[in-house]
């Protein structure tokens, strides 16, 4: 299980060293390898929770790191390295979902239904019944709200960190999380009532 983010919105010593090495021609490849090893799991899980499918999450994670390879020179160190990586990953993820939703130029595509089907099929999910219900309820949220919920509920990120990553105010994030929780509660309760009636 990946470590919980601590003060990831500040540049720590280890990341500073990675960045220093990356600036030199002889250390560039090694620094990048260190960066991949350090952050690949967290990037993958962030994406996996959003796209559900393992292969899609794998492809997208690789895209994220390739983007990082090309643009790490532009990182100014004004935020934590992981905050920056997280931002790249969330942008990539949202762009992918948007593209997938508009597949074949058809604006209406039941992406949530497709993702829910993957969870229910059991190939992509090994959780028990209650964990499945929670994941299905999360899938009903709008994408950005889903991101906010995952970051807060599972990753336990601070609102300040989320604000840096998503470029949204802390107040708006708190409201978004609150709404997400209410929606999930309602969805799960409705689901439970339907089960009881059946």
């Amino acid at each position: 299980m990946p470590s919980k983010p601590g003060n990831d919105f500040k540049l720590n010593q280890e990341d500073k060293e990675i960045l220093e090495k990356f600036k030199t021609e002889e250390g560039r490849q090694m620094a990048f390898n260190l960066l991949v090893r350090k952050y690949q799991k967290r990037v993958y899980w962030l994406i996996r929770k959003m796209v559900i499918d393992h292969d899609d999450a794998n492809d997208l994670s690789q895209e994220v790191f390739i983007r990082i390879w090309h643009h790490l020179d532009e990182f100014r160190g004004e935020s934590g390295l992981f905050t920056w990586i997280y931002r790249v990953a969330t942008n990539e993820c949202l762009a992918y979902l948007k593209k997938k939703r508009r597949r074949f130029f058809l604006p209406i595509h039941d992406l949530e239904g497709e993702l829910a089907g993957k969870i229910e099929s059991g190939n992509h999910f090994t959780g028990d019944e209650i964990e499945k219900k929670l994941q299905l309820a999360i899938l009903k949220l709008p994408e950005k709200q889903r991101l906010v919920f995952n970051m807060k509920y599972f990753e336990e990120l601070k609102y300040e960190e989320m604000s840096e990553i998503l470029g949204t105010s802390v107040g708006a994030l708190k409201a978004s999380y609150h709404h997400a929780v209410q929606k999930i509660k309602n969805s799960v309760l409705l689901d439970n009532n339907q089960d009881e009636e059946a």
């Binding site: 690949q40 993958y44 393992h54 209650i130 964990e131």
Partner: protein, 170 residues
């Protein structure tokens, strides 16, 4: 953490307590008590996956050279396009001649013989050619040919005019 002196209840107690709380509440945070795991544990991934992913990333990146100055193709292309446009403008302004100038230049290069050949080949200019053949182009003393008497008589016949008509008009 401060050590407390109370007796520790066993694990079964906490499980029973969690169930009781869950029955009474429907708060989302209580799901944690019920053992909701992080998706990391519920979405399966093989053990070798992480190494494969690393290899996948490594195979897709090209070694990057540290450049003294970075040359991006977009500004280069834009500059090139601008230079071509400016060049074409200057060339057009300096060297492009009018159609009249081209015709004059062309005529200057032709000698009289070539002009005569052209005129000979053109049927409409047949009469002019015959006249030109009599002398140089500038020396031609052109007399507009007036119809011969026979031609005038022929015209009168065709128009069906009699002599009285002619007298009246005259």
């Amino acid at each position: 953490m401060k050590k407390h002196n109370f007796g520790m209840p066993d694990e079964a107690f906490f499980q029973a307590q969690a169930s009781t709380i869950l029955e009474k509440t429907s708060g989302l945070e209580n799901w944690r008590l019920k053992g909701i795991r992080n998706p990391q544990e519920t979405f399966p991934v093989s053990d070798s996956f992480w190494l494969k992913m690393e290899d996948g990333i490594r195979s897709r990146i090209k070694p990057k050279q540290t450049k003294v100055f970075q040359l991006s193709w977009k500004p280069v292309f834009a500059s090139l396009l601008m230079a071509i446009t400016i060049g074409l403008g200057i060339w057009n302004f300096l060297y492009k001649t009018s159609d009249n100038e081209i015709a004059e230049n062309h005529l200057e290069q032709l000698n009289q013989e070539e002009i005569l050949i052209y005129l000979t080949e053109n049927e409409e200019n047949q009469k002019i050619t015959e006249l030109i053949a009599a002398g140089t182009f500038s020396d031609i003393n052109v007399e507009i040919p007036v119809g011969a008497d026979s031609e005038i008589e022929e015209y009168i016949d065709e128009a069906n005019l009699n002599e009285s008509d002619l007298e009246l008009n005259l």
